[in-house]
Amino acid sequence: MNVGLNDYLILSALLFAVGFFGVLVRKNTLVIYMCLEMMLVASTIALVAFSRFNGTLDGNVFVFFILTVAAAEVAVGLAIIVALFRKRGTVQVEELNALKN
């Protein structure tokens, strides 16, 4: 049995769903951020699979850029989380309710 494009896309969807589940369920901002990264990586699996099965390199180059942007994004996001922790003393989302009242 050959591994087709379908299998890669289903794997990508599954990993994306797991990351989505984590974002919805978890309370810790750091873990939510990890799950966001997982969703990003899941979408890159789909891109690489499409690129391979299409026979062109453009999808791979796109993933190359996504990796670069993801690295920059993680640095900025974690800096924001650290600033948030300094200001409010917590990273749990249910305690970050400054806009509530």
Binding site: M1, V3, G4, L5, N6, D7, Y8, L9, L11, A13, L14, L15, F16, A17, V18, F20, F21, G22, L24, V25, R26, K27, N28, L30, V31, Y33, M34, E37, M38, V41, T44, I45, V48, R52, F53, G55, L57, D58, N60, V61, V63, F64, F65, L67, T68, V69, A70, A71, A72, E73, V74, V76, L78, A79, I80, I81, V82, F85, T90, V91
Partner: protein
């Protein structure tokens, strides 16, 4: 061989991805993310994207997860005191994720997708990347370089102790 490797790496990726979500300890979650990313790198290697699999290990496993671990140890959030998730959001999250997965799966199952690659040999070496990056994608390369500079400045500004802000209070 390829099929069994695909299933092995898929199980690694999704299994440890679930472990990231369900783990109570944040440090353990970051380490599970690391293993999951190694599985993704294996999938990339199966898709003949060897450069990307090496880059994924270097950038994600080397930099991103290390940064996550560093921040977790720096902040030391009280993870063991409370339940990491409550029941309502667990049910809602399960339903949402299942809907997403089933939706994409039905889309994939009913589409006309090829089962074999268009070309047997896939040229994805360093030379091909270089040729693409410095001809077709020259502008994006420069924009990404500028983005990295901006994000570096942003991180420096964000992580500085805000002295002027304290004074105005």
């Amino acid at each position: 061989m390829e099929t069994s490797l695909f299933y092995f790496f898929s199980a690694l990726t999704v299994g440890f991805g679930l472990a990231v979500v369900l783990n109570k300890n944040t440090v353990n979650a970051a380490l599970c993310l690391l293993v999951s990313l190694i599985g993704v790198a294996g999938i990339f290697a199966l898709l003949d994207a060897l450069l990307l699999s090496v880059l994924l290990i270097l950038v994600y496993a080397g930099a991103v997860v290390a940064l996550f671990l560093f921040i977790v140890m720096l902040l030391n959030p009280k993870s063991g005191l409370k339940k990491p998730y409550n029941k309502i959001s667990l049910v809602a999250g399960t339903i949402g994720a299942a809907l997403l997965a089933v939706g994409v799966r039905s889309f994939v199952k009913h589409g006309q997708f090829p089962t074999a690659p268009a070309a047997e040999v896939f040229h994805a070496g360093l030379k091909d990347y270089g040729a693409k990056l410095f001809t077709t994608y020259l502008l994006p390369v420069q924009v990404v370089g500028f983005l990295l500079l901006i994000s570096m400045l942003g991180v420096i500004v964000l992580s500085r102790k805000a002295e002027s802000q304290e004074e105005t209070k």
